[in-house]
Point group: C4
Chain length 251, copies 4
């Protein structure tokens, strides 16, 4: 096995049938590190104190990601998907490759105008690529197919949720608008309360104060349990189904 | 196939065995748009600034819904349910047709007194008709039958929830009434806290402050998990059951 | 069928194989009404305004429940459980009969000292008797057996929850005690926050303010999802199991 | 059966095939008591008032745990795992034995410097040993294997949760930073809100106030339901699978 073949096994995520290569694990960690840096840099005092360090890390990441990009382009033709004469070109213009390229841009842009914030977060997309690597592919396919199979049931429970949202916010608008015009003065405003209640988040920044309002709010809160229970139940049943099919196939 | 037959396939929701016709999709979008308009119009400043636009949109919706209503009456007799001599009359007085008619009223009423708010929201009911269209019918039947089959189990967990509500609010009323008469001065008042806690909404506008009160509140919060877990578990099991039956029937 | 037999079928909950008799439905409604009255009476202003009405209703309920009690004692021997010479005595001293008797006491006591609040709520226990009537028995047995069968799994997840509670409150106590002695100055105090967070209730009356405190609080909140997911998953699986067994038995 | 054999059956957790011996139950209760004491002692006023009692209880617990430790060392060689010449030594340096020893330290340390708080909580670890005793072993293995089998699915839903956290906090940071620099001025700060919302805890100490911010916050709250539903569904399906396998094996 020559170096190129070894590189292929190390770099290409689909080359190995099981496990994630050390190289890809390292890249994963780097991506997570890069995202953490981008997140931390939004905290003004931290960004100012460690300005030099952030700069240096950014350059380092740029260097490593550039090398990685070149490596991926170099070994691309060994993947049957990108073999042939124009295989490398085909790879360069594939979705994942373009995302890799975009992940390289932040530093270049910051040199010019200092704001490449969103692009820096785009690196997160690369994690998706990782999550599809090795052993995760099977799990991903399993979950995704189970969800897709029950999409109508899930959409129905989503519709029920939307209707519940609208009905409860209308009720509270009618009942509380007079007492709390700021919080319940219109249906869009009441929707804020309604979302917080039905999802059982319950911030408590706005709550009904009239007795009738609280009565309907209580009913809304109980209905919120149904809102959570329906999709959970559907997903549980769908996954149960999928796991059983998988096992009977493997047996 | 003459025009009337084509119209029937486009307009009647039950005419097609699969998919939703372009006409019904358009009506769906219109209903959603009409409801969004009604919701937005409750926000005073928006309503005043775009008064002309709201008026125009209302007339436009009225026009389209009127045409739709006439079309539905026209093609009604082609549906086996409404065939025969008095089929069209039978259709006009069917539940869904009356809902369609009610959806037409808001504008007419606003011309006279300016308040047809509730009727405007009644249009939402028409979405229900849509949700039963095409591919959703199967999902709807499946979920509904699964829930209906386990209605006694669900009702039991509902009863347990009610009892838990009453018991926890009684406890907190006894323990906290002296310290917070405003929030826990009577059982109906304590119920407000109780609902918020057991459903895990947790607004935080009223919370116990005594040590004993907090101890029982903690137990209530933990019991709240059971309150959510019971119906979720029942639904999950019921759906799992239904999905398996469906598959064994299809196989 | 003579009157006594008819009475038996109407009054005794176990006499009918299916459905709840009109008599028992009526008693159910009365119990719910009596509990609602007791709940409402704790609200001072309401109690004072409608004092006469509450008094009258209390006497009326007493009368009906007394008649019901006598009827139950009268027909008791027709139930195989209480047949024989001392059957009626045996019935009078059975658990349910004593609860029925206790439900009669509130009024008698209020005549003397005016406080029979807790006894009045004891009437709720009679609802339990109702919930075991007719069609609910099967659902109750099913749910109960499914839960009992997985009691060790549920207890384990309960233990994990307790440990999580203790660990998270210890962490927050260590991290936040200096900054918020009132809310996190001891582990029992931190437990109040911990319970509210792990159950996802989240009152928000006490929250960590230091960065490290918030970091661990975030981890606690995420762990709270597991705390909810574990018992829900166990219950769902247990119910799924029970439903399938039931169906294969019925088939 | 001589005394040593009887002691073995009483003290060693694995000696009995079913049930927990009276000795181990007593030790369990003592551990729980010791932890409760440690928890209570962090509450300053209580610790000062009952200082003598806490001291005495600590000495008592030390004495009993010391005797227990000696007993366990004494009977260790009767367990096949620790039989042979160096069996007792092997036992002394086993993980559980060292935890038992650590549980003895708190008192000794408090004599010197008065702070052995963390070690005192380490006693909790001993509960883990208990939870693996007797009937719990089977439940523990069942749950653990079911979770381990679906670890990739659970990790995937964890990754999705992390990504959702990051995306929602970035959105809110961008939308609300200008209006609420204290709460949303950087992504790490916005993460605090994000965690509270996605886990449906919803403290409400920080909430978006702009209309667009609330719109995205509402979407985040709804996505939070998915965040809870996914792992719950996976666990439910995994447990359902495990329970069925167990039953078919037992049948």
């Amino acid at each position: 096995m020559n170096i190129r073949e070894r590189l292929f096994l190390e770099v290409d995520a689909t080359a190995r049938s099981n496990g994630i290569s050390r190289f890809n694990r390292f890249i994963c960690l780097l991506i997570i590190g890069a995202v953490l840096l981008a997140v931390l840099e939004t905290e003004q005092p931290v960004a100012e104190t460690y300005h030099q360090m952030f700069r240096a890390a950014e350059w380092l990441l740029f260097g490593i990601f550039l090398i990685e990009y070149c490596l991926r382009v170099y070994i691309a033709p060994m993947n049957p998907l990108f073999s042939g004469k124009y295989g490398r070109l085909k790879y360069i213009f594939s979705v994942w490759s373009i995302i890799d390229l975009i992940a390289l841009l932040p530093l270049l842009l910051t040199v010019f105008d200092g704001t490449a914030f969103y692009l820096r977060l785009a690196r997160l997309l690369r994690i998706l690529r990782v999550s599809k690597l090795g052993r995760f592919t099977k799990a991903w396919t399993l979950l995704w197919q189970a969800i897709a199979k029950r999409r109508y049931e899930l959409m129905l429970s989503g519709m029920a949720a939307l209707m519940l949202l609208l009905v409860s916010s209308t009720f509270l608008y009618v009942l509380e608008a007079a007492e709390q015009p700021e919080a319940f003065g219109s249906i869009p405003r009441a929707l804020w309360w309604s979302v917080a209640t039905l999802t059982t988040v319950g911030y408590g920044d706005v709550t009904p104060i009239s007795a009738v309002g609280r009565f309907f709010a209580g009913i809304t809160a109980v209905a919120g349990i149904g809102l959570v229970a329906m999709p959970t139940g559907i997903l549980a049943a769908a996954f149960s189904d999928a796991f059983q099919n998988q096992e009977s196939k493997e047996a």
